[in-house]
Assembly symmetry: C2
Homo-oligomer: 405 residues x 2
Amino acid sequence: MTVSRRAVLGMVGAGAAVVGAGAAATVATRSPAVASDTYPFYGPHQSGILTPAQDRLHFAAFDVTTTDRAALVALLQRWTAAAEQMTRGVAVGAAAVPYDSPPEDTGEALDLPPAGLTITFGFGASLFDRRFGLQRQRPAALVDLPHFPGDDLDPNRSNGDLCVQACSNDPQVAVHAIRNLSRLAFGAASVRWSQLGYGRTSATSTAQLTPRNLFGFKDGTANVKAEDPTSNAAVWVQPQDGPDWMVDGSYLVARRIRMTIETWDRASLREQEAVIGRTKQHGAPLSGGGEFDAPDFDLPGRDGQPVIPFNSHVAMSHPDRNNGAVMLRRGYNFVDGNDPLGRLDAGLFFLAYQRDPRTSFIPVQAQLARGDALSEYIEHVGSALFAIPAGFAPGEYVGQRLLQA
Amino acid sequence: MTVSRRAVLGMVGAGAAVVGAGAAATVATRSPAVASDTYPFYGPHQSGILTPAQDRLHFAAFDVTTTDRAALVALLQRWTAAAEQMTRGVAVGAAAVPYDSPPEDTGEALDLPPAGLTITFGFGASLFDRRFGLQRQRPAALVDLPHFPGDDLDPNRSNGDLCVQACSNDPQVAVHAIRNLSRLAFGAASVRWSQLGYGRTSATSTAQLTPRNLFGFKDGTANVKAEDPTSNAAVWVQPQDGPDWMVDGSYLVARRIRMTIETWDRASLREQEAVIGRTKQHGAPLSGGGEFDAPDFDLPGRDGQPVIPFNSHVAMSHPDRNNGAVMLRRGYNFVDGNDPLGRLDAGLFFLAYQRDPRTSFIPVQAQLARGDALSEYIEHVGSALFAIPAGFAPGEYVGQRLLQA
């Protein structure tokens, strides 16, 4: 018996074509990706980074449980093959398996189009230990993140040898991807922590509207966009950066940021806007203009102080105050039920790609943790940094340049 | 400053109109509801029951923390007013609030259309105690659910005085609804437990395709559909059932069913299909035909035994084996990260509406818990039963007929 997403899709082909045409009209409010979209799996860079941010996320960090380098290579080969199939909207594995064997694909995405699925792989610092002889290949930029003031990190929500970011416009497609990759890892790696994000918080393309975070504010207005002429240099490791296997890769910072939204909700609109430095309704800088107008940090208000407070989030995080440091933000809102006090366990799963965290995330976060007015309403509870290797060509597997280096 | 979803929507009106027209084309694969859809808030029945199942869910159960009946009434009045606004896509509260007060609406759905939002309220058995003098109004059908074999219920995921089911085709809209209702409950009720569902598992309209659950099978093929001539009598409390305040209401069973998907994934396709009684790819009964053909439970296979095993899920749950008992299923897939062993904390958040649980859910579940082959792969970890009062007219608040009875 054949279990093939392509076969199933063929049967509803007429309907699927209609979807593709009609769904394009949703660009204005949500994401430029439509249900039938596919993004390239092969190329100089991995997809899921400069790709227009899809609406849904399933992210997982893994501990490698084998100490056999060949088994690690085999896992990465299995993952590469399966991810290539899933991003095409095809079921994982062989087209036909014996009826008395478990299906190779778990099946819950059988009828679903690719829905813009991208799967992005990364390596944590802990992978570069003696187990696999990779110590000398550890990039200098793959540091251990420092402790920032206010951090309250849960080790069970932090770090990991490997990571997989699955983004899609259909949550079932993203969940299916992580589930099948977890299954293929059996005996070689197991999930250390995972996070679902139900809605993107960043636009990564000028074609996307700026979404709102759980504080009710537009978030990431000034984010690096794929169309920006500077985006390549901000995101991708350059030849002079090294090591060779990381060229055309990137570094991903993942932070689980709990928002104390009940406290925030009791703050006045004046306080909320002063903390952010933008208006709530339109996302315009408090210095005036529209959402995309540059903030004027010197414009004085009636009291002679800047109308955009010095310690506001927009001021503290602005590149002008951070030696020009920029990151490609790609975070997601999350709600994981509630805590024992009945407060929503909710916030921002911050994801940011950058050429070198030592000159972008780390100094920016050090400044925010010290002085950002927003710090009063948030808490960082999970943290990880991953090296995201370059893309690859057909026949290559993810990380091959590292493991053959 | 005015914070009005309608005002904001007005500004993107041209784009939104395009969405409405275009998104209709997605009916074929997902839900008949489009982003700009609204469902009526007033009427003889609450919405969110026979309404075509939306794609996303946020559900919350509350403990009432006040013992003042007037404060309970005031809460239900606030909830009714806010729910009416949100289902229209309008921000909660007054159109304008002082700049030095907290915004009445939390804002994260400001730019979003109603996205088919429905908000459905219910009352748990514990509400009918001495605190509010409601003991004599407790419906006979609002029983304490019995213990079923295999139940492993977490009290922190079970029961509650009140419940709110928010369904929408945009998860941020559903989350926004529960968050704002939780906020309006401050001082009168607090969240006891909550559950996000990322994808519907049931069709409740013949216009919807049957979705797949996390076992990879189409689920709820034989579900009661709104268009079925029997649906009214299966779902709504009739005048002869009583009490008066429940007529045109319903009863909601909520069960958090953890699926041990790692075990399931190791079962052969033959075993999986025998457990369910249907084919995995097409959802057809093992006795032949297509998805919507009636199963033939007597058709013998080569070994002389029925091709649809007696203990298969489709056989054990079929109305013919349950004195004709039917329910309107409206459940959702959930994934809440992973457990400490790296297994996905995932499964089905089972929601089922019915006229009387004593003749539908309870006997059906008693039979399934004893004999369903699927029981080996699932575990019920949360449970609740709520009385869902009838709909209401403008000027009325939810539960008014109960509290004035």
